[in-house]
């Protein structure tokens, strides 16, 4: 409950500041209308700084406490500077002859005044430099791998010496590791070939799970939406795709391009379908994780937005109760999606390495 309350408090501060920033920047609406869509989209998208808290000082000035993150741009050479230089998008940064402006968490090339040119659909026409910045998602990912490496190397140390009864963290992690090995890898992949893929599957499972959980922490240093970001899910699905197809056996490729035991016209049809299937499988992996995690974030944020949309504290208990239920569900979804992603990866690998016995 403590976290929820804190999250609620943070969200309130944030929503208010968002609101005013949006109003300032857009100049679309002069009143303080709360836009839940704006707030939610801001939350689930990536960011160039790590927001901790915002508040309005007594003099009416907005204060943002953020952790500045490194900006790395490739545009006529490499430019590295801290995101604090943008002053939350208020200032234009000059590097050499180029000017950069942070606008809606995207970096654009502008003139010295930071003019943003809009097209007819209100889309931004300015050029974008190649952006390799350490964004909030990257920072959150690095935090997660520090946690994961610490957890598992600490557990691994316990295994030195003679076999003994698992203790402490080890006794919590070992059943999970064995679950992935026995019930995911060994179930789906022929046992004599499975051992090669177990480290990949274990890493995949714990990476997704821990990052899902970090995403659920409603305050700094959590609340990132890494596993709900298409860039990450794409990378993971791509790795599964590469691992699957680079370990494909003769019989696997035979079944894709020249299905044995069926007439030739159907073989041709099947080879087209199977070929498309090669790509739809990882594509489904990518979308499933992204959609599930992002949906959870959107639902929880929407429930809190209710309070501000209705402009009533009376709705708060309902919001909090429903959000609490969603949090419980999301805890389950966090592990479930990690499990499903790992299981399907193992399934695809298992299909690829399987030797057909006729």
């Amino acid at each position: 409950m403590q976290h929820i309350k804190l999250f609620f408090a943070l969200l309130a501060c944030w929503a208010i500041t968002q609101n005013s920033i949006a109003a300032d920047k857009h100049g679309e609406s002069s009143d303080n209308e709360f836009d839940p869509m704006e707030m939610i989209m801001h939350h689930i998208a990536d960011a160039h700084e790590w927001h901790v808290i915002s508040y309005t000082s007594k003099s009416g000035e907005e204060k943002h406490i953020t952790l500045p993150l490194p900006i790395i741009l490739i545009d006529d050479g490499l430019h590295v500077f801290m995101s604090s230089a943008f002053h939350h998008g208020e200032k234009v940064v000059q590097k050499g002859d180029n000017y950069y402006k942070l606008y809606h968490e995207k970096i654009y090339k502008t003139d010295a005044l930071g003019t943003i040119n809009y097209g007819p659909e209100h889309e931004v026409l300015n050029d974008k430099p190649i952006d390799f910045s350490i964004t909030r998602n990257v920072a959150s990912m690095w935090l997660s791998i520090i946690i994961i490496i610490w957890l598992f190397t600490a557990a691994a140390k316990r295994y030195k010496g003679a076999p003994a009864v698992p203790k402490g963290m080890q006794s919590f992690l070992e059943p999970l590791i064995l679950f992935v090995r026995d019930d995911i890898a060994y179930e789906q992949i022929d046992k004599h070939k499975a051992d090669k893929f177990v480290p990949f599957l274990l890493t995949l499972f714990f990476f997704i799970w821990i990052n899902n959980l970090i995403g659920l922490i409603p305050f700094f240093p959590g609340a990132s939406n890494l596993t709900g970001n298409i860039s990450l899910t794409m990378v993971l699905a791509l790795i599964t795709f590469l691992v699957t197809n680079f370990s494909g056996t003769k019989s696997y490729w035979g079944h894709i391009f020249w299905m044995p035991g069926v007439p030739v016209p159907i073989r041709l049809l099947l080879s087209v379908i199977e070929f498309i299937g090669l790509f739809t499988k990882p594509f489904a992996l990518m979308i499933r994780l992204l959609a599930n995690i992002t949906a959870g974030h959107i639902i929880i944020l929407s429930l809190f937005s209710l309070i501000f949309v209705m402009k009533s504290v009376a709705i708060a208990p309902v919001s909090i109760l429903m959000a609490l239920m969603m949090f419980m569900l999301e805890l389950l979804v966090a592990v479930l999606q990690a499990y499903i992603f790992t299981l399907l990866s193992a399934l695809f690998i298992g299909m690829a390495v399987h030797d057909e016995e006729h």
Binding site: D46, I130, T135, I149, P163, L178, P199, F200
Partner: protein
């Protein structure tokens, strides 16, 4: 559609990070953990098999022990029985031998006695004959003098006869 547009920066960093994570964890976590778990599983399996084997061996040993004890008991019984029989037969033998010996001794004693007796009787007879001849001689001498005197002489000589 900002949500569905991959961002090259994040793609790059996540691919790099995930690759690095797989490498580090494989080397420093999964390998030692999985190896230890596997060796522990093997140890447990081996220990269980060994325990099973040891149990079977103990059972075997118990059976052998019982067998040996039973054998020993049977042997002891036969030995005791044989000893008893031997004792009985020895006693019987000794008894019969003793009897025989005793009988023999008695028999030989009897023969001896008989022989001595006969010898004694023979000697007595000789002595009696001698005395009788002597007495008869003396009587013949005395007869020549008087009857009274003859009688006295006979008595006197009879008195002198010592049958011992």
């Amino acid at each position: 559609m900002g949500l569905l547009t991959p961002d090259p920066g994040l793609v790059f960093w996540s691919a790099l990070t995930f690759g690095l994570l797989v490498f580090i964890l494989k080397r420093y976590a999964w390998k030692p953990i999985l190896h230890a778990v596997k060796s522990r599983e093997e140890t447990i399996e081996y220990a269980l098999a060994a325990a099973k084997k040891a149990k079977a061996e103990v059972e075997d040993l118990n059976a052998t022990k019982v067998q040996i004890m039973n054998d020993a008991k049977a042997e002891r019984d036969t030995l005791i029985k044989a000893a008893r029989e031997l004792k009985q037969s020895m006693l019987d033998d000794a008894k019969s031998k003793a009897q025989d010996e005793a009988d023999k001794i008695i028999a030989s004693a009897r023969v001896q006695i008989e022989r001595e007796k006969n010898e004694a009787i023979l000697q007595l007879k000789e002595k009696v004959a001698e005395f009788s001849v002597d007495i008869a001689g003396k009587l013949l001498e005395e007869e020549l003098e008087s009857t009274d005197k003859q009688k006295a002489i006979i008595d006197k000589y009879l008195q002198e006869v010592n049958f011992n």
